[in-house]
Symmetry: C2
Subunit: 430 residues, 2 copies
């Protein structure tokens, strides 16, 4: 059966063409945007056309942040201005309309900033410049160790009286793409504007600071948080033939950042999840349990879709035995990370020999996925699909996360891997 | 030590910048071309600058085939001509100056062609249209089952009186890039012109043939085989401190096809091999045995470099205990294929647990590499570096095998994997 799943995915896979549509005809789809709404309508349509047993929406309210006019930034030494590429971080306030200009304090850690103290930081722009550690083989580990700068840097800087925060992009590549991503202000701190700067821009700023510690940095951004908007999770379902009340979820998130097409993050996970149901149906497989493909809304800046899905499951007394998420890009599969009790993990490990011939050697404890995370509270076993991580952070949250950077075979293999896991979960339970 | 190797490769790797130079400053380097000669001079220089213990050239004579003016091809139905992208296969003769035009016989196999017989094939152009099998997880397996069409198609067609042979590109992608590659004429058959056609072009031709079996195909190509040229293998060496007479080779091939920069095939393998020696030297490692980085010349259309290297080794009574080749692209490492006696393979398998944490799960019997192949005759154990194979045949022998399609981390990880294997071979023998 697993062999048939791979043959079907590699011979007749639809995910790549679906992804082309999602990227090229719909494009960016940040929560609350027209693109996000179009993506809801279109994925519902696709799943209806596939004649899944049931396709439905779940209503949610989502945050709605807009970037506004493109940002501008430069390094100023004397009268010389050098432009650098920045992108406002999601959730940030705008600068004053004429922008903000100030001297710069470069730090590599929050501790280093705190040690400097209010006197040295007040009125300055703080530049968080700790790179992702290139020696971490799994790039998600390096990301995890750097991302606090983006999430909490503005709060740390504002606490000491800074007027802005500039954050080195969480990127594995040295290039000119600024990466955005969500940030939050701590309660009670002044809301100072914050932006990501490209890695090349960060290197330049750092170099110039060494030569001219009193240079100034200027930036202007025009973003705004609007009232919460109406949106939806989109769910497609194959009804179980023996235990329809036991539900297995396979999903990704439908929203993306606004800078690009959200091809790897997470268009890939969405089309792969729809593809899992298509493959099983194409093979004439009748699942024992109910299998749902879920396009979660608002993973990027709120997780409202994931939270609402779990709330509704609880409210409706649904029994979700397992959930699989793909939100690490459409790259060649390497394995699955499992969140569950030891006995549940042990059961999944029994399948290792069935999956290893398909390159899925890395099966063990690990992250599940942000959207399916809230389901863990009621005992759902979580499976995070793990593709090769080397290229993901070259494009993550940046304007190059486009369809052209997705390889068809890699994407199809991911869908096949997820379908194989869903098949095993359906057949043997967990 | 293996951890240090990876840290060094990922923090200070030089391979990517070397590859940028090889691709962007030198570019295509088919045997006998100016590019090939520049690549010899430059890699010698790089290894001298790295102060390897010895850097030297080996003289060889290589075939020298030139493409000449760009090919032209179209499908003609009545008066309507539709252009399609083709590329002469390496070693093919030219068409007559005004081109060749004939009706087309489409076949999927040599047997199908032979069954048609002389009467139906005579005076026609044979169109070999068997695709690579998408269900083979390892794309090299699919390539291996399709490539006879390119290598021997012209001979099979000429045997039955055909006037030309058009071959579906060995590609995993549906696109407009024709793929070239070597072909040979059988003895005594008429030398008919042969070219690769892009996969989209092949699909179009096949469709149109169904509607119009009597359509004609026109193509013109201007290639020529020149007298053999002088060229070289380039060798850099770290001298062994305990057993200098035991030699371990790590290599790739310096020549490439003429259509592109030869980034994955096999610029990647060359810079990775030089990088292996750089890494060991940077870590202050003193090898017990002599370690050589070899840039082989002429893998693509003659293998003269590999043959000459093995001949010289025999002639000079050198003892090559092992050789590692990288010629499957600069992608994320998956393992090594080993050619050797069972006891030798068993010894290498003991290292599996040391390498698995670095994603090298696939270690077992398998291909070594074309260039190091001739060394097997004298008992050298061969190791073929196995990177992920999904994207290789999208670019292999086509005009998109360029630097932009190589990812720095993936390339660096390959070099680290090879350095780790070389280190183990040096430390423990085989």
């Amino acid at each position: 059966m697993i062999g048939k799943i791979y043959d079907e995915a590699l011979s007749n896979g639809q995910g790549y063409e679906w992804l082309r549509y999602l990227c090229k005809q719909i494009g960016p789809r940040l929560s609350g945007s027209t693109g996000a709404q179009k993506a809801v309508t279109w994925t519902k349509q696709v799943m209806e056309q596939q004649q899944f047993d049931r396709v439905f929406l779940q209503d949610i309210k989502v945050p709605y942040w807009v970037r506004g006019a493109k940002e501008e930034a430069y390094i100023k030494v004397g009268k010389q201005k050098t432009k650098v590429p920045i992108a406002a971080l999601g959730g940030s306030v705008a600068t004053a309309p004429k922008g903000v200009e100030a001297e710069v304090i470069e730090v590599k850690s929050f501790q280093e900033l705190r040690d400097l103290g209010k006197e040295k930081v007040k009125g300055k722009i703080v530049f968080f410049n700790r790179p992702m550690d290139p020696t971490k083989l799994n790039t998600f580990e390096a990301y995890g160790r750097a991302v606090e700068q983006r999430a909490n840097g503005a709060t740390e800087a504002a606490n000491l009286g800074a007027v802005g925060a500039i954050v080195r992009s969480m990127s594995t590549s040295q290039d000119d793409f600024p990466h955005t991503g969500s940030m939050r202000y701590g309660t009670g701190v002044p809301l100072i504007p914050t932006a990501g700067i490209s890695t090349n821009g960060a290197n330049l700023l750092s170099q110039q600071l060494k030569a001219n510690p009193n240079l100034t940095f200027y930036f202007r951004q025009n973003c705004e948080t609007m009232p919460d908007a109406d949106s939806h999770n989109v769910v497609g379902e194959l009804k179980g033939s023996e235990n329809p009340d036991e539900i297995i979820v396979v999903g990704g998130h439908l929203d993306s950042w606004d800078l690009a097409e959200g091809a790897h993050d997470d268009g890939a996970g969405c089309v792969q999840s729809m593809e899992v149901l298509r493959i099983l149906k194409a093979l004439g497989y009748k699942p024992k349990r109910t299998i749902r493909a879920v396009m979660f809304m608002n993973e990027e800046n709120g997780l409202r879709g994931g939270v609402k899905y779990a709330d509704l499951a609880k409210q409706n007394k649904e029994n979700h035995i397992a959930a699989v998420e793909s939100d690490n890009g459409g790259f060649t599969p390497r394995g699955f990370g499992i969140v569950g009790k030891p006995a549940q993990r042990a059961k999944a490990l029994l399948w290792k020999d069935l999956l290893a011939p398909y390159g899925l050697a890395e099966i063990g404890p690990g992250g599940g996925g942000a959207d399916i995370g809230p389901l863990a509270q009621t005992g759902t076993v979580l499976f995070g699909f793990k593709p090769d991580s080397q290229r993901y952070f070259d494009v993550h949250h940046a304007s190059n996360d486009n369809f052209e950077n997705v390889n068809k075979r890699e994407l199809d293999l991911g869908a096949a891997s997820m379908a194989a896991m869903i098949y095993l979960l359906d057949k043997y339970g967990i």
